[in-house]
Each structure stands twice: as structure tokens, then as C-alpha cells.
């Protein structure tokens, strides 16, 4: 099957800091990928490039056959316009570490506003669909609440519902449990597990939840100093690799 996303020798620098040093990655349409690696290795940056929140300094990202950051012009390729970005990123959704819900809107409107404005859905349909999705993440009794009235775990579940109603082909998760109190992590992981089991979309999870990654991911990438140092099934990467830096990372991670 054709990959839904391809990174081709992608580099990213912030000023003098060379953060990503040649990322090559194909993501299959239904694949669930977990990205692990030390702090500062570039995990967040990888998915922010795909979400168009950062622009690569070199290389290409192809989404469903279209170059994300470049477009055809009379002579050769040029920097993508806002319109081009809008077309290509239509397939992509993201859930953030700090939720980023819209605080001035109800939970329901957080979902309805993008459906009406971006998907051009009728209000009544958008409301119907949003309610279904909020029910699915366990917030069926909170439609009219505002984000400030919710717990962290509830906020994150709303954020997932909001991304999901848009029916993306690729969903990105950036450490979506790391801002939560430990007792709230489970309810959020459960939603992700449900999606991984029942949805066809590709998922990329940046996560520190190693056991969870092992359980849901078809493939685990170990990112180290801006390159993909290891890639394979969870079993292969977490239990069988003899990469010393990975060993070191896992040891420190398990607090040994």
C-alpha cells in the first residue's frame, strides 16, 4: 500500500541548533507508530512539521501524494501558500500536551466550530456528530460545560473528540498524558486504545508511556539526537535492540 505520509531527508534547524538531521520515514495508512527518545531529541518537532506548525529547513514531506510545504509554480517548486497548506493539512489532526481547548467556547462548540467552518457542515449535523463523539470519549453529560470546569483528563478527552470529528487520515499525539495527574492518565490512554483498535486512520504517538507504546504500536521509533536511531516492532526496539544509547535511555527511563 502507498504510504500516507513520507518524510524525505527532512532537516530542521532553529537558528544554529540543528534539531532534525535527515529524517526518512514512511507511514502506512492504518499504521500506529510510537516515537520514543530522550528529551530534546526532536520528537515534538517531527510531528509539528507534519501539522504545519513548523517549516522544515530542508527535505520534503509528502502527504497522500502531495508535497506539504512546497507547490508547483511556473518554474519549479516554491514555498507553499496558506491555501495550499490548508488543502494538504485537511487530512491531519493533532492532540496537544496542554490540550489547547478554546476556553471561551463550550465543550460542544469546541467540536462544532471547526465542523461548521472547515467541513462546511450544517449546524444541526455538526451538533449531532459532536455529541456522538463526546459520548464516545465519555463526556456525554458535559456538552454545555466550559473547559475550565473540567479535569485534565476530561479536557484531554474533549481535545481528542474535537480532533476526531474532523475525521483525519493521520492523527498526531504529542505526549498527551504528560501534563496529567497520574490518576487521570488511564482514562486518556483508554480512549487512545479504543481509537487504535477501532479506527483505520494512521496514528503517531509521541509518548513516555513505554508499556502503552508496546501494547498499541505497530512500530516504535527511537529518536536520538535528531535521527531515527532504531525502528521496528515494539518487541524488537524495546526488548531486543542492543543499541547502547537506547539501552541507556530505557534504563534511565525505568529509573534503574
Amino acid at each position: 500500500m502507498e504510504p500516507i505520509v513520507q518524510y524525505k531527508d527532512v532537516h530542521k534547524s532553529f537558528g544554529d541548533v540543528h534539531v532534525l538531521k535527515g529524517i526518512n520515514l514512511d507511514i502506512r495508512p492504518t499504521e500506529k507508530i510510537a516515537i520514543i527518545g530522550p528529551s530534546g531529541s526532536g520528537k515534538t518537532t517531527i510531528i509539528r512539521l507534519l501539522m504545519t506548525l513548523e517549516e522544515p529547513t530542508e527535505g520534503d514531506i509528502i502527504v497522500d501524494g502531495q508535497n506539504l510545504w512546497k507547490m508547483e509554480s511556473g518554474k519549479g517548486m516554491k514555498k507553499a501558500s496558506e491555501k495550499h497548506l490548508g488543502i494538504v493539512r485537511n487530512d491531519i489532526g493533532m492532540v496537544f500536551q496542554h490540550f489547547n481547548l478554546f476556553p471561551h467556547k463550550t465543550i460542544l462548540d469546541n467540536c462544532v466550530v471547526p465542523l461548521v467552518n472547515v467541513r462546511k457542515m450544517k449546524k444541526s449535523e455538526a451538533v449531532e456528530l459532536s455529541k456522538q463523539m463526546l459520548d464516545r470519549v465519555g463526556l456525554g453529560d458535559k456538552y454545555e460545560s466550559y473547559p475550565t470546569q473540567l479535569s485534565g483528563g476530561q479536557k484531554q478527552r474533549v481535545a481528542m473528540a474535537r480532533a476526531l470529528v474532523m475525521k483525519p487520515k493521520i492523527m498526531l499525539f504529542d505526549e498527551v498524558t504528560s501534563a496529567l495527574d497520574p490518576e487521570l492518565v488511564g482514562e486518556v490512554l483508554e480512549v487512545i486504545r479504543d481509537l487504535a483498535d477501532n479506527e483505520d486512520m494512521a496514528m503517531v504517538l509521541v509518548t513516555h508511556e513505554m508499556d502503552f507504546a508496546l501494547e498499541v504500536a505497530d512500530r516504535v521509533l527511537f529518536l536520538d539526537e535528531g535521527v531515527i536511531a532504531e525502528s521496528g516492532t515494539a518487541e524488537e526496539v524495546i526488548n531486543e535492540s542492543d543499541n547502547p544509547r537506547l539501552q541507556d535511555f530505557l534504563r534511565r527511563f525505568r529509573g534503574e
Binding site: 501539522m51 489532526g93 496537544f96 489547547n100 481547548l101 471547526p114 467552518n117 472547515v118 475550565t148 474535537r162
Partner: protein, 220 residues
């Protein structure tokens, strides 16, 4: 004593409508300028940004009185541009002046909205205009309310300058009254003060309310 106070108030109230109408029109105009200039200054286009920056700095860097005289006495002769009656010139001068100040309030409030809000809006593929309209501006507005309240009170006070271009506002009638009843001068000006204060009261109340709304804020 009480009689004379009442007398003076009745006399001053001839200028009430001029003061109030100039205030309302100038406030409205300055709010519009604040948003137009505040948003323009954040555009990508360098020409729009440059022109706006020029406007803001010129109007913030010179005094309202001078701007008023320029628009009323100088501009018609120099450029053959006639803005209209002195009422209109007053509204335009005050509106442009305070609009320049308030555009900075608009700009900084927009910048104060958490970056994560824009990022979430991009992730949902809202267009730049939709992001501004549905996500950023509604949150920025709450942050703007207290400052807009304060500036509105200043605009009211600023309207007193229009007597200098021949408009018959409250201060104008106060002056006339004093010059014809010299011994009652202090009383006349006391009444002028009281009258401005009474008009300002609802504004003070509104800006307090605005502060409360802003403080309740928009934390996610």
C-alpha cells in the same frame, strides 16, 4: 447658593448634547481605528504595516490640541481638504488620536492570547481569518475591556478641547458663564467638573465591569 448652582447647571446643559454627541462619535471612531490599525500592524504586508506604524507613532507622538488645530486650521489651507464642520473635525481628531493609542491595546491583547490557541486552530484547519474571528479575537477582546474602559473616560475628558475650535460644549458654556458672572467663576467651574463626572460615571462602572470580565479571563 443652591439656586445659583442649579442655575449654572441649567445653563451648562445647553452644551451637554455637544459634549455627549462628540464623545459618542469620537469613541466609536476611535474603536474602529483601534481595530483597523491594530490588525493592520500585524499583517504580513510591509507597506500596510509601515503606513500603520507611521500613523500610530505620529498621533501618539504629538498632542491632541495640535492635531485638532492642524486638522481644523492647517489642513484645509495646505491641502485644500475640507473635512466638514467643526463637529466633524473634532470627532476625527479625537478618534484618530485615541485610536492610535488603543490600536496598541488591540495589538498587545491579540499577542497575549496563548500561542497554543492558534496552533489548535491550525490543527483543525481553520483559515487565518477564521482563526482570528472565532478563536483569537473573542479571547483578546476580554483582555482589551479594561483598557478600552480607561481610554473611553479619557476620550470624554478629551472632548473638552473642542471648545477651542468653536464648538459649544459644556466647557464653552462654563467659560461664557464665568465671563459674564465673574464672582461666580469658581462655582461655574465646580459645576463643569460635576457635570463631566456625572457623564463619566457609567463609563467608570462599565470599565470596572470590564476589569472583572478580563480577570475572570480565559485560562484553559
Amino acid at each position: 447658593m443652591f439656586d445659583s448652582a442649579l442655575n449654572i447647571l441649567t445653563y451648562l446643559s445647553q452644551g451637554l448634547w455637544t459634549t455627549v454627541s462628540i464623545f459618542l462619535a469620537a469613541a466609536l471612531f476611535s474603536y474602529i481605528m483601534a481595530f483597523v490599525a491594530g490588525l493592520s500592524r500585524m499583517m504580513k504586508n510591509p507597506i500596510i504595516r509601515g503606513v500603520t506604524a507611521f500613523y500610530v507613532e505620529v498621533f501618539r507622538g504629538t498632542s491632541l490640541i495640535v492635531q485638532l488645530f492642524w486638522l481644523y486650521y492647517a489642513v484645509p489651507i495646505l491641502f485644500d481638504i475640507h473635512l466638514g464642520s467643526n463637529w466633524i473635525v473634532g470627532v476625527i481628531a479625537i478618534g484618530l488620536n485615541y485610536g492610535a493609542y488603543m490600536s496598541e491595546v488591540v495589538r498587545t491583547s491579540i499577542l497575549a492570547v496563548d500561542k497554543g490557541q492558534t496552533e489548535a486552530a491550525i490543527a483543525l484547519n481553520l483559515s487565518p481569518v477564521q482563526r482570528m474571528r472565532h478563536i483569537i479575537l473573542p479571547q483578546a477582546l476580554r483582555l482589551m475591556l479594561p483598557e478600552f474602559g480607561n481610554y473611553s473616560i479619557q476620550i470624554l475628558k478629551g472632548t473638552a478641547l473642542v471648545s477651542l475650535i468653536g464648538l459649544t460644549d459644556i466647557l464653552y458654556y462654563g467659560d461664557i458663564y464665568r465671563s459674564t458672572n465673574l464672582s461666580e467663576g469658581p462655582m461655574a467651574y465646580l459645576m463643569v467638573l460635576i457635570m463631566y463626572f456625572i457623564i463619566a460615571l457609567p463609563l467608570i462602572w462599565l470599565s470596572k465591569k470590564g476589569e472583572k470580565i478580563a480577570r475572570k479571563g480565559v485560562a484553559s
